[in-house]
């Protein structure tokens, strides 16, 4: 990556009591990129984000925003950051507009025009003067996004932003993030425990488990080619596939093999000559979920789904 990172986490650690909640996190985030921050519940996503915006003090390491250390120059560093930590909590007795005005005062140079512009961007014009207590969760998320964007941050952090959004809302949200990343070159960091959600919106995914960063994946990287093959009898199929030199893995009623497209016709021929009953051959895109399960050993994600 030749671009200069907007944000760098260097050896970020947090110990509460005797428990190491975040362990030596190193991560760089780049302009115009959406980076996913994936991990099961309790992995330490929110804690990391809280440390990135000054809500929690790291016990080790530091956060740099465009080279500015938060520990040394908090105000300058944070002036480039917009954030929603968990659910956006607004002053319920005030209107959405009053909330935005209130938060705008804490940043330099946010004009009335800018407030109106952001309101239009998130599509809240019609209800903005109503009290927040009358808003649905989806509207609160929009308002949350609006307050995070007021000061045109170069770096946007969203902690589980799709909580409480319906599928259409999630889709719209995804398009919107993509737009501000591409058009304004904003670097976006989105945490989630739901793979399916962030694999669609992210360019990169950092996986965290038990406070440790265990993998960073580039989503644009070409994926290995896999095929799903279903044939009977199973043992004969497996013997043949292994003999042909493929790595074989049981999946549903058949097997997953890492084969290139060109190898498939020859393989089919061999299978028919051996009189195997062939039911299905189809390209298989290993989802991030499979990879994630592999990486985390499976056990942790179950917890995430039940929560």
């Amino acid at each position: 990556m030749e671009l200069k990172p907007v944000v760098e986490l260097r050896d970020l650690s947090k110990t509460i009591g005797a428990k190491k909640i975040i362990d030596d996190l190193n991560l760089s985030l780049y302009p115009g990129q959406i980076t996913g921050f994936l991990g099961p519940n309790g992995a330490g996503k929110t804690t990391t984000i809280r440390m990135m915006v000054g809500l929690m003090e790291p016990t080790g390491g530091d956060v740099f925003i465009e080279g500015v250390s938060l520990a040394e120059n908090f105000e300058e560093g944070l002036s480039k950051v917009g954030v929603i930590v968990e659910n956006p909590e607004m002053y319920k007795f005030m209107s959405g507009y009053k909330n935005l005005e209130h938060f705008a005062r804490m940043h330099d140079g946010v004009t009335k025009e800018r407030i109106d512009e952001v309101i239009a961007q998130v599509g809240m014009q019609n209800r903005i003067h109503e009290k927040v207590s009358t808003y649905s969760l989806g509207m609160r998320q929009r308002l949350g996004l609006a307050q995070a964007l007021l000061h045109r941050p170069k770096f946007l952090i969203l902690d589980e932003p799709t909580n409480g959004l319906d599928p259409a809302g999630i889709r719209e949200f995804r398009m919107y993030l993509r737009k501000i990343a591409e058009e304004d070159g904003v670097s976006i960091f989105v945490s989630s425990h739901m793979l399916s959600e962030i694999e669609l919106m992210c360019d990169r995914i950092a996986v965290i488990q038990n406070g440790r960063l265990i993998d960073i994946q580039d989503m644009s990287a070409t994926q290995e080619s896999h095929y799903y093959i279903e044939a009977r009898p199973l043992d004969a199929t497996e013997t043949l596939l292994t003999a042909e030199g493929f790595t074989v893995e049981s999946f549903k009623e058949g097997f997953i093999v890492n084969a290139e497209k060109e190898q498939i016709p020859a393989l089919m021929q061999k299978m028919t000559t051996q009189e195997l009953q062939l039911f299905a051959v189809q390209p298989h895109r290993k989802t991030l979920e499979d990879q994630f399960l592999e990486m985390t050993g499976g056990g942790q994600i179950a917890e995430a789904h039940t929560k």
Partner: protein
């Protein structure tokens, strides 16, 4: 809240006026009234010298005032005395300010808005300083409102005094100094409210709970003097916060405990406020926000 306070102050003064009037029904005042009628009749006669007229006018005025400020009512309630004693009503200001000060930081935590507030490019001590300034302003506003309403009430419900009333009742008030005195007492009462509010503010900030802060502050506020009396047995009563909060004692009354002076109390209040604010700022700037 401000309107409520205004209504209560006016209502209180109105009631005071009504109750003094009810005590006015005595035969004694009837006599005065008859005497007054006689003097008025004399005044009406056309052939009086300038000197005689003046004499009668004075007599008439004296009688009128005696009727208005009936001796049986004890201390006469005149406009000026009502205004200078207005600071007594500021206990209400203290209560309202305790409630506001308790919640101003704590509700940010309980509603979760604290994280929206502190994840901004503003240092935490600045956020807390503006919260504290808001508490003091609120307190000042309510004190001023109380004063204004007291003045309005005093003019609405109570008669003004004249030189002769002062002389007759030995009221140590002169029209030139009483506004100054009234404002001074109000200022001392404001300090009282502000110091107690600082305690509530500190508890709310440290424990991050509104109800706890209101509860503890009100409890201390109401039991403070008992604690002072109790600790006085050991000679340390004067070091208790609530032995020092009521600075008006030194002006209108005698000190709460013998040997206490206004400068001593001021020093104690400064020390207490510094401690409260020290803990508040330490807690607010150093502790993690997990709400």
């Amino acid at each position: 809240m401000a309107i409520m306070l205004a209504v209560i102050v006016l209502g209180f003064l109105g009631m005071t006026r009504l109750s003094t009037e009810m005590m006015d029904n005595t035969g004694w005042t009837e006599d005065l009234k008859n005497e007054l009628a006689g003097v008025e009749a004399e005044l009406a006669s056309p052939d009086l010298t300038e000197e005689e007229r003046e004499q009668l006018e004075m007599e008439k005025q004296g009688l009128e005032e005696s009727i208005v400020y009936s001796i049986e009512a004890g201390e006469p309630e005149v406009r000026e005395s009502v205004i200078t004693e207005g600071y007594g009503i500021t206990a209400l200001v203290t209560l309202l300010t305790i409630i506001a000060a308790s919640g101003i930081v704590a509700t940010e935590f309980s509603q979760g808005t604290i994280k929206m507030l502190l994840s901004r490019p503003v240092k935490r001590w600045k956020v807390l300083a503006s919260k504290y300034a808001a508490v003091l302003l609120f307190c000042l506003l309510l004190t001023t409102l109380t004063f204004v309403m007291t003045v309005i009430g005093a003019f609405l419900f109570f008669p003004g005094s004249t030189e002769s009333t002062f002389m007759f009742y030995h009221i140590e008030l002169t029209t030139t100094s009483f506004w100054g005195m009234a404002l001074y007492l109000m200022f001392l009462a404001f300090i009282n409210s502000a110091v107690v509010a600082t305690l509530a503010f500190a508890i709310g900030t440290i424990f991050r709970s509104t109800s706890l802060a209101i509860g503890i502050s009100l409890f201390l506020y109401f039991t403070g003097l008992l604690v002072v009396m109790f600790l006085e047995k050991y000679g340390i009563g004067k070091y208790v916060l609530f032995a020092n909060t009521n600075l008006t004692n030194y002006v209108t009354d005698s000190p709460l405990l013998s040997g206490m002076t206004m400068p001593f109390s001021i020093v104690m209040l400064v020390v207490y406020v510094a401690i409260f604010l020290g803990f508040s700022f330490w807690s607010f700037t150093k502790r993690d926000v997990a709400a």
